[in-house]
Amino acid sequence: MVQDSTRLNGLRAKHGRPPAGPHEPQAAPSTLRQGQPRFRGLEAGHRACQGCGEALAARIVMENAGPDVMVANATGCLEVFTTPWPQSAWRVPWMHSLFENAAAIASGMEAALKARGRNTKVLAFGGDGGTYDIGFQALSGMLERHHDVLYVCYDNEAYMNTGIQRSSSTPHAASTTTSPAGKERMGKRHLKKDLLSIIAAHHIPYAASASVAYPADLARKVRYAMGIEGPTFLVVHSPCPLGWRHASALTVEVARRAVECGLFPLVELERGALTNIMPIRTPRPVVDYLELQGRFAHLFDETDTRAIEERDHLQALADHNILTYGLAGTGDDPVDTTGIAHVRRGGPLAERT
């Protein structure tokens, strides 16, 4: 969309769109949203599906990362739906090279900026395929070499861009096109890889999980990571209505239930040590999360004992997370899974020292 500046300025005049950056003249905002002083690194008008969790997460990340960044983006939905030539939904320098090298491209960008004396922060974006699986080696190398890069993994728990194939991030028992449920199989046979622990084992300054259901928490984590010089990592749980087979209006609700049941714990690790968690005020049963999604529909055949076993298995995994990370809340915590969704002046952490 950033092709012809005359045409673009005409469109802006017609639709009252706000300028992209401080170097462009300000027009008076005509709606509240347009008047909001936030940086829109990822513009509207891209081609994501309705209810895309990844698009939502990327928008929040960009708003909080600010304009002086550049992005190395792995192959995947985010790349494809934002940049169909000759259009682009990005208002920051953005580069896609390959599926498995976003972390190495980001390393090169950072080295170049350092050599040229620039302070622009480098972001690397990948899905779970590009992060947990094929880009894992390059990511480990980037973390070990201590590049000043914020790597964000938009985790939608399967290869969605190629049509919902299982990844090492796909949860146990989820049905995908390469781990379908059938007479002999109850979906994916293996466990979701505990990537965050592996990342934390690199003893990088900051690694955290976040969720699109908790935008204020995600925003805070992005801002915190942006303030750190060195490698930082965020994995953002990003539901995919198409792949998870839930209604597109339920993206945020599904993501919230994943956190509330304990299957996707929101935690922060600094130099490898757990430093913060988001407590769960009232843990929900895992079935509340599973029942919204077609990928787990085979677990609700009450005549199938294997289905009940797998549900119990997933509940046990969630219970294990709650125990391991100490996620059980103690009541009215303003930053627990219920409190953080409430808007407070001064931000969600204002009441916490």
Partner: protein, 391 residues
């Protein structure tokens, strides 16, 4: 200044004189001495660059890609399996039209595992869209490395400088190293017109649908065609500055009136020149064609170079199993349009580091004189070593 230097050390010094902002490399025999020497230059403070010690060749290529796209002058080096591990990135670098320079210390590709020299690695990525320049000596490799940065930056195409592993990289040679002032005059600081910059956001590497892909490939191909002239001009400019040319697109030496020609790339050219000098009177003389630019392929220059020959022997340092020679096939193809094209004999030589003695020269001349000589053969294969069914 003339000094005796190992090829790899000389290359490292040449790279340092080009003042790269970012160097990323992963060690592989026989490229190792180049990165070791570069690391040493950095450690001693003689080279100020961001040296990124990556975890694989795949990341080496990706790091220099990311760096060059961000406006840095970037350099990497590899060989053999490393070239193949990089191959996906190599296509990407070229397709994105990112200027950077890579040395390939040519080595065979396994299996069977071989750490020794041939040119299978560069041939495996001949269609990646890089400029390929082959060096016949360490002097040429040094001069070509410096030229490569200017060629890459002028054409916005990546340049692969090929030098035979061990034969050049590990061999001492008296080399006339250019001075830093000469290199500075020859190679202005890198100013990439499409560099990523947060003050002027740009999207690179988009999804291209069938409505655009063909045009982009055509434009890449056309840029390679224009690079022919750039390679010649840069070599001529370098010669003006230092008094030494590196052979432009190709060089013709030997006996200009000979009816037999031999075309080769890389260090084997030196062996053939020595063979001509030592055996020429007895065995017969030949016109020697040293092909420096393999991509872009200098078709017109080649047709001029072979005019008047009865037989052209093309040496391949690699093989395309099921076809035969690679350089030989391409040469045959471009000579088709000549009214009196020479007969082409194509021989693979020195695969996997097999020694190429001077005595290969009279053997090749003898083959040219034989009307029944095979059009293609692995010239120095001893078939007695094989089971009868494998011969």
């Amino acid at each position: 200044m003339r000094e005796a230097l190992e090829g790899s050390l000389a290359i490292a010094r040449a790279v340092a004189m080009a003042k790269p902002d970012v160097v990323a490399a992963y060690p592989i025999t026989p490229q190792t001495h180049i990165v070791e020497n570069l690391s040493k230059l950095v450690a001693e403070g003689d080279l100020h660059t961001e040296f990124v010690s990556v975890e694989s060749e795949f990341s080496a290529a990706s790091v220099v890609l990311g760096a060059a796209a961000t406006g840095a002058r970037a350099y990497t080096a590899t060989a053999s399996q490393g070239v193949l591990l990089m191959s996906e990135v190599l296509f990407n670098i070229a397709g994105l039209r990112i200027p950077l320079v890579m040395t390939v210390a040519n080595r065979a590709v396994g299996a069977p595992l071989s750490i020794w020299n041939d040119q299978s690695d560069a041939m495996a990525v001949r269609d990646a869209g890089w400029i390929h320049l082959h060096c016949a000596s360490n002097q040429e490799a040094v001069d070509t490395t410096i030229q490569a940065f200017r060629i890459a930056e002028a054409t916005e195409l990546p340049v692969m400088v090929c030098m035979d592993g061990f034969v050049l990289t590990h061999t001492m040679e008296v080399i006339d190293m250019p001075g830093q002032a000469q290199v500075d005059a020859f190679l202005p600081p890198f100013a990439f017109s499409r560099a990523l910059d947060s003050a002027d956001p740009r999207t690179v590497g988009t999804l291209v649908d069938p409505g655009w892909f063909a045009e982009m490939r055509h434009s890449h191909h056309a840029a390679m065609g224009r690079a022919l002239g750039v390679i010649e001009k840069v070599d001529a400019d370098f010669a003006k500055l230092t008094g030494r040319a590196s052979g432009g697109l190709l060089t013709v030496t030997g006996d200009p009136d000979a009816r037999v020609g031999i075309l080769a790339m890389g260090s084997v050219v030196g062996t053939l020149e020595a063979g001509l000098a030592d055996f020429g009177t007895e065995a017969g003389t030949a016109r020697l064609i040293k092909l420096r630019a393999f991509r872009p392929f200098p078709a017109r220059a080649l047709r001029e170079a072979v005019a008047g020959l009865d037989t052209l022997i093309v040496i391949d340092r690699a093989i395309s199993p099921g076809l035969g020679g690679i350089v030989g096939s391409e040469v045959s193809a471009v000579l088709q349009s000549m009214t009196a094209a020479p007969r082409v004999l194509n021989y693979a030589l020195g695969l996997g580091g097999r020694d190429i003695p001077e005595s290969v020269y009279p053997a090749l001349i003898a083959a040219a004189a034989n009307p029944l000589a095979p059009r293609f053969a692995v010239f120095d294969a001893d078939l007695d070593k094989l089971m009868p069914e494998d011969r």
